[in-house]
């Protein structure tokens, strides 16, 4: 399918398959974290991946990004089989991700975090980069429209300017000098997002980016993700904020006990009795502990939270701090 269609009109039909997961299974000892996961992300769409805590969402992300080797199954980026590839090679092919539990370079500033992503293809041992360590070497960066171009690193270079812009883009304008570990969770998540975007990925995996954000911020995040998808990126989103998922996703997969139990457009998912059963099932076990969640504005469905072990991360407050 031609890519142009996608940019103008993101739809469930979407563009080419940028990410294809087939029959992925992961076992931890006797526990099957994923038993047979199949999933496709199309260029120019936001694809949602929802499911109860412990359903295997983060494990699937780890399999895709290479932090976990699957026991069975395959992962393809476009037509390239990346199942056995090292994480950094996958990233160079255009796969970027964020983490549910923050993985920032804590000692670096927010801007430097983004710069590490921007400069990841720069070979530091080349003389043209090494010589910048000498203070008397002029940067020699040509400036076009007030933006230095040509040199990827160093003061005033494209990396610094672009990282500022990326931080602006995720709502962190002016916070570039802030030490990453000193930032509140919500803002830190946005630094992770900016760092991922810095790699100009073809596929972006987001693990609960909305937790720690307030309503307005999560609204803005939704708009940003839609903009990115319109630019042709394939976004795979794990998120507990159902309102956000239902609003921005073109297609949704529901994962439960390591299996994809359902998939479809947000409307189809809302009405799917299998999904409702899976979600309502937990409530029957313990009606007292069940918590009401919402699929969009419509059906009130009990959230699938095991009240014995999990706090509820709705509104993103629970993960804050």
């Amino acid at each position: 399918m031609p890519q142009a269609d996608v940019v103008d009109q993101p739809s469930t039909e979407g563009g080419v398959d940028v990410l294809t997961i087939e029959g992925v299974a992961v076992r931890f000892g006797g526990v099957a974290a994923l038993s047979d996961a199949n999933l496709t992300v199309k260029a120019g769409t936001v694809t949602g991946l929802i499911g109860p805590n412990g359903a295997g969402k983060t494990t699937l992300f780890n399999v895709i990004s290479g932090l976990q080797t699957p026991d069975r199954g395959s992962v393809h980026l476009y037509d390239t089989d990346i199942t056995k590839m090292k994480p950094h090679r996958r990233a160079r092919l255009g796969l970027a991700r964020t983490f549910q539990r923050l993985e920032l370079f804590g000692t670096l500033s927010a801007g430097e975090n983004v710069q590490v992503g921007l400069e990841s293809s720069v070979k530091w041992w080349q003389w043209r980069h090494m010589k910048r360590a000498f203070p008397w070497v002029k940067s020699g960066v040509p400036v076009v429209d007030g933006v230095p171009v040509g040199e990827p690193t160093g003061p005033g270079s494209i990396a610094v300017v672009t990282s500022d812009r990326l931080l602006d883009g995720v709502g962190l304008g002016g916070l570039g000098a802030e030490q990453a570990s000193a930032m509140p969770t919500g803002l830190a998540r946005m630094v992770e997002l900016a760092r991922a975007l810095a790699m100009a990925p073809k596929v972006l995996l987001l693990d609960e980016p909305g937790s720690g954000l307030d309503d307005a911020e999560s609204q803005a995040l939704g708009e940003l993700l839609c903009t990115l998808a319109q630019g042709g990126m394939g976004v795979l989103l794990v998120e507990h904020d159902m309102e956000l998922v239902m609003r921005i996703c073109d297609y949704i997969y529901v994962l439960d006990f390591g299996d994809i139990i359902s998939s479809g457009t947000p409307d189809e998912i809302r009405k799917d009795p299998v999904v409702q059963a899976a979600y309502l099932g937990t409530v029957e076990v313990d009606p007292e502990g069940g918590v009401v969640g919402h699929f969009g504005d419509e059906v009130a469905v009990e959230r699938t939270i095991d009240p014995t072990t999990e706090a509820l991360p709705t509104e993103g407050e629970a993960v804050e701090g």
Partner: protein, 646 residues
């Protein structure tokens, strides 16, 4: 055949002794996540304590065993966990390694003061006598050691799999918080782990001591358990049965090689093989280990990194430092302290300062612990002395290049593993090089290896003042280089790979390459420093680059601040001065210092109330200083990401 059986029995006995110590290590590691480098030193103290009670004070065996194992080892294990280790939660990853090393040098330092190394001490077996079996004599003591080892293995198995405490002990390292929620104190479990670890270290020490027929010595007994480390690594620091089997196999292999291979070698070579064996086993164990899965740990470094001086600032600082050094060098050119001129001491400080700087790069920035920088120094000095008659620029260059290559070779087998394994590999390497290489009479010669002063293009640095200035220039250049690296793209990557390996890989960066590269650069700097050190002293001896001084120096850098250039320099000053004033107590100072520093990541120099601010240095504004963080908005990205790719 009789011989073979004899060797086998002895090998199994030795292996059983290692097994007790190694399983102790594993128990401590699985319950607290800390690899106790002091395990060997605890065994050594127990052996000496036992000797003191039984041989010097004629106490009965059972009383000595109770005092050493129960009162001494177990209670100190509990105290060490409570006082030293517990407050390290959340400290940077290298800190527990440093504190256990500190404990090791304190214990060896104290032992050297209490038990003079010149006296020979043989320890009587706990059980005297022997019996004959299929034509060979077997000491009762051997049977005792093997029996105790089996009892320990069975006891641990029962403890871990059949008791509630055992389940909690196994759970504690996986998720201490979750364990805490189920009503078990994770701290208490770690404490049990340390008690057991200390107990088993002491047990192996007390049991193996009588088998040392030439008497027990502080250093060799402390390092005896390196073979045990190898066994623990084969068991991946968590599998007790595998650890146990590996320990027996290593004991057997050591004894077979000793009896079947070494008689065919020249005596020097045989000694080298003998001393290098534990290290070879350790390396083999490291190579055979499967890769560790990269994990997203979600731990955010909350460390405030020290400010990095800018390009112009570091240049000015370097020039000022040089001017001060020139003035001091000229003024004090004839002063002597205890027979050594101040200029020579100053030169040594500068050389060790370069070694400290290499540690700033390797450990401070990228978080990898290297305990063998002194070995690189020794190799550098050796090359300097042997190439082109000594004192040539070629020697300097070769020392740097060869050490870089050796460094890369050491780092390579461990990059697939966690950082702890690099520390272990460097520990083994430092030990093996010190024992098997520097100590070999053919390497440095009996009177030491003499190294000439550098002379280049007709300019000789023969005079003490000229030599001092030369090494000072090298130190200033190295300091400037380290700061330039930190400010560069590569420096950002070093810090990044330390902060979050998972994120580092997922932004497309190669963790292994970065780690090997920085380790090789650090090794090269240490090699250069060693070559210069040789020219300052004029002669280097077998003990200059021993494992213990190397570790003590790392501790001093940690104490002052392993992330700063000034920390490296002050550590060199402290080390050289203390070695002049109280040479026998340097280890105790270093160990106590690192324990007192505890979790303060930036050392003494990072302690806030010691800071003063130069009036012209601008204070950086933190997030807290702003009235309110800017709201989330301005999301027009306009394809910025795709442009950034250019």
């Amino acid at each position: 055949m009789t011989n073979f059986l004899q060797f086998t029995i002895f090998g199994v006995m030795l292996g059983a002794g290692y097994a007790i110590a190694a399983t102790g290590l594993v128990v401590t590691y699985t319950t607290s996540g800390v690899f106790n480098f002091a395990q060997g030193a605890v065994g050594m103290i127990a052996a000496f304590g036992y000797w003191e009670l039984v041989s010097a004070h004629n106490q009965p065996t059972w009383a000595a065993l109770i005092i050493v194992l129960i009162v001494g080892a177990s209670i100190s294990g509990a105290f060490v966990e409570r006082i030293l280790m517990r407050r390290l939660h959340g400290a940077s990853a290298e800190r527990p390694v440093m504190v256990t090393l500190g404990l090791m040098v304190i214990l060896t330092g104290v032992a050297t003061v209490v038990w003079s190394p010149t006296v020979q001490r043989t320890v009587n077996p706990q059980i005297n006598g022997q019996f004959r079996l299929v034509g060979i004599n077997i000491q009762d003591q051997y049977v005792l050691i093997i029996g105790v080892a089996i009892a320990v293995a069975i006891g641990l198995r029962l403890l871990f799999y059949s008791t509630r405490t055992g389940y909690a002990l196994r759970a504690v390292v996986d998720d201490p918080e979750l364990l805490g929620m189920s009503g078990v104190s994770p701290n208490r479990m770690s404490q049990y782990g340390w008690i057991l670890g200390f107990f088993m270290a002491a047990l192996s020490g007390v049991l193996l001591a009588p088998t040392q027929t030439t008497g027990i010595s502080i250093e060799s007994f402390t390092l005896l358990v390196v073979s045990g480390y190898a066994a623990a690594i084969v068991g991946r620091l968590r599998n007790i049965p595998v650890t146990f089997a590996a320990a027996i196999a290593i004991g057997l292999a050591e004894n077979y090689i000793l009896n079947y291979v070494e008689p065919h070698l020249s005596s020097d070579l045989a000694r080298d093989v003998d001393t290098a064996l534990p290290m070879l086993f350790l390396f083999a164990a490291l190579v055979t280990l499967p890769s560790v899965r990269l994990r997203a740990v979600g731990r955010l470094t909350s460390l405030r990194a020290p400010r990095v001086a800018g390009g112009a600032e570091s240049l000015i600082g370097g020039v000022v430092f040089l001017v001060i050094a020139v003035i001091l060098g000229v003024v004090y050119s004839n002063t002597e302290v205890k027979g050594t001129t101040l200029l020579t001491l100053g030169g040594m400080i500068m050389c060790l300062g370069i070694v400290g700087l290499s540690l700033v790069l390797v450990t401070g920035y990228s978080g990898q612990v290297s305990l063998c920088q002194f070995s690189f120094m020794g190799i550098g000095a050796f090359i300097m002395g042997k190439v082109a008659g000594g004192g040539s620029v070629l020697g300097l260059l070769l020392a740097t290049a060869i050490c870089a290559a050796v460094g890369a070779l050491i780092a390579l087998p461990t990059i697939r593993l966690s950082d702890l394994y690099l520390a272990l590999a460097t520990f083994a390497f430092a030990d093996a090089v010190a024992q098997g290489f520097f100590n070999d009479g053919r390497i440095y010669g009996s009177g030491g290896l003499s190294i000439n002063r550098i002379s280049v293009a007709g300019v000789s640095f023969n005079g003490d003042t000229a030599e001092f200035l030369l090494v000072t220039v090298f130190f200033v250049l190295s300091a400037w280089l380290v700061l330039a690296i930190r400010r560069s793209l590569f420096g950002r990557r070093l810090v990044a790979v330390n902060d979050s390996p998972a994120a580092y890989a997922t932004v497309g960066l190669n963790i292994g390459f970065t780690k090997v590269a920085v380790f090789a650069i650090g090794a090269a700097m240490a090699g250069l420093a060693g070559a210069l050190y040789g020219t300052v002293q004029g002669v280097v001896g077998t003990t200059d680059f021993d494992i213990f001084p190397g570790i003590i120096f790392v501790l001093f850098v940690t104490i002052w601040g392993i992330r700063t250039v000034s920390g490296a320099f002050l550590a060199a000053v402290t080390y050289v001065v203390l070695n002049q004033v109280w040479p026998s107590s340097v280890g105790i100072f270093a160990g106590l210092g690192v324990i007192l520093i505890g979790r303060a990541a930036n050392g003494l120099l990072g302690i806030e109330f010691l800071h003063f601010r130069l009036p012209w240095v601008k204070r950086t504004t933190g997030l807290a200083d702003q009235a309110a963080p800017p709201s989330f908005g301005g999301l027009a990205l306009e394809g910025e990401a795709s442009r950034a790719a250019g």
